[in-house]
């Protein structure tokens, strides 16, 4: 029974990570790259307008980082709950 409870907790933590990471995913692409693009374009990043940069470069870099962070978090979580292979 306690193992059952543990697994429930494992799953809940997993879901918490997903919500956190997916909100960042949403923010850099849909929010910065599309919805707020005009406002961000007023800011310059070298030769780039910031909104344009997010849409064509920045979002992609953040996506890569998100997956790497996810791997780190999950490997730690798996170990903690002893469900790693």
């Amino acid at each position: 029974m306690s193992q059952q409870k543990d697994l429930k907790k494992y799953w809940r933590t997993n879901l918490k990570y997903l919500v956190l990471l997916l909100s960042i995913w949403f923010t850099v692409s849909f929010l910065f790259g599309i919805i707020l693009v005009d406002a961000l374009n007023a800011i310059r990043l070298g030769g780039f307008k910031l909104g344009f940069w997010f849409a064509q470069q920045g979002a992609i870099y953040v996506f890569v980082i998100l997956i790497l962070v996810y791997i780190k978090l999950m490997n730690r979580l798996d170990k903690q709950y002893n469900v790693n292979e």
């Binding site: 070298g46 849409a55 790497l68 791997i71 790693n84 292979e85």
Partner: protein
Amino acid sequence: MTLQVWTWILVGITFSLYIGIAIWSKASSTKDFYVAGGGVSPLANGLATAADWMSAASFISMAGIISFNGYDGSVYLMGWTGGYVLLALLLAPYLRKFGKFTVPDFIGDRYYSNVARAVAVFCALIVSFTYVAGQMRGVGLVFSRFLEVEINTGVLIGMVIVLFYAVLGGMKGITYTQVAQYCVLIFAFMVPAIFISIQMTDTAIPQIGFGSKGTDGVYLLDKLDGLHRDLGFHEYTSGSKSTLDMLFITAALMVGTAGLPHVIVRFFTVKKVSDARKSAAWALIFIAVLYTTAPAIALFSRTNLIETVSNVEYEKMPQWFTNWEDTGLLVFDDKNKDGIIQYVGDAKRNELTIDKDIMVLANPEIANLPNWVIALVAAGALAAALSTAAGLLLVISASVSHDLIKKMIKPTISEKGELRAARLSAVVAVIIAGYFGINPPDFVAATVALAFGLAAASFFPAITMGIFYKKMNKEGAISGMVVGIVLMLFYMLKFKFDWFGGGSKEDWWFGVSPEGFGTIAMLVNFVVAIVVSKFTPDPPVEVQELVETIRIPSGVGKAQDH
């Protein structure tokens, strides 16, 4: 050496490499054939996934589309990479834990129903066939331009090569050829980009050159915005699409990416759950190299193109201009008979029509790069098209031999018989794909983008709810998938092919284009599935237990046994 000799040499070398790998990695069991034995390393799987994913569309068309549409092209950049975040976080680890061979396998088992399995097979076949026809056309295009053979001969050569290594090696052969193909295609994509970046900005890294000043001290992006304004095009860094449509198209491409069977199935090939996560990261890193370079190429080639042709005498056009005119993909129509090329935004005065697909292929020639670089691009484009075609053909053959024959029609079939059936259906699939490559129906180009909408509308909700919503039952999932794909097909046929009374842009529902409609169809799929499941019995206890086990990484070995 001439360009043609270089191209034959590079294409010859890369093709022999693919064949060599295929012979070395022959499949001897169905497990080899479907999932490469299930022991591929995360790094190799990441490379293979990247090649599998990056098709002729990514390699040839995408930079061209961005080049012509500027900011509007961002939907492809964000959409086709952001989908990997969904794949890594929501699908790959759990499907790996589930540990079968195909996507319909998961749908059929999770929803304890052969009807669900059949619906999934139907969706997988529609998505994969629309996609594969476009790849074959890409192969034909490269052959006809660079090797001056008939498009049809080009398609036939491509068919024979794919046939050879897909039929012989199955997933195992495909995986290792895809690793080689990634190396070829990324090298081919980066070399000209680096050359041109140095030419235009003194920076070797295209991603930085993208935001740098040109030789005249003006930021390249500002300069291009200025050129666009002067010629009457809409500004390069701002869009012409509505915000809502941008959102929906991006979402449809992301979710579609995560729902494409030929991508998902790659995650069945690794050893354990943590490897599935790792290979998703590798895949996105390898993809990001090309995807962050593509918009830089788009900017460079657009600027180069305008500077080369705009207000210049037709007589002074370089060789590449006439070469592409011969293919009919570049057309000059001297409307005011002054012998000078007017390339402007106003359709009435504009005299130059350029097919978007030629930008990446013509780019090295426009920038006067050496012949071997141009030949390399041809070899890279072929690698991109062939690797994706092979991945898709495998999905088609597994759908037939495994999901239809083994799981539904004749469960008693022997291992050997199933392997033979898999090879045979791969042969048939190659022939059908080749037919579409030789006789491309008008709808091919239009439907490749829509394949994503179809995948988003059908698979994504069924798979994610299968993992994250234990109470989702077969009635809900089946009705969701059916309503989703039918709605998407209806919208696509109505607004792209003028069926059901047709309609123009003004008639789009909520102003959403057919490319973005996959998002709506997906949402409808979710709603229908949830509502129906509330009024029908819960899934059996065993199925709920199955969901519990796929949520936990440990014990992969057990889940694998059939």
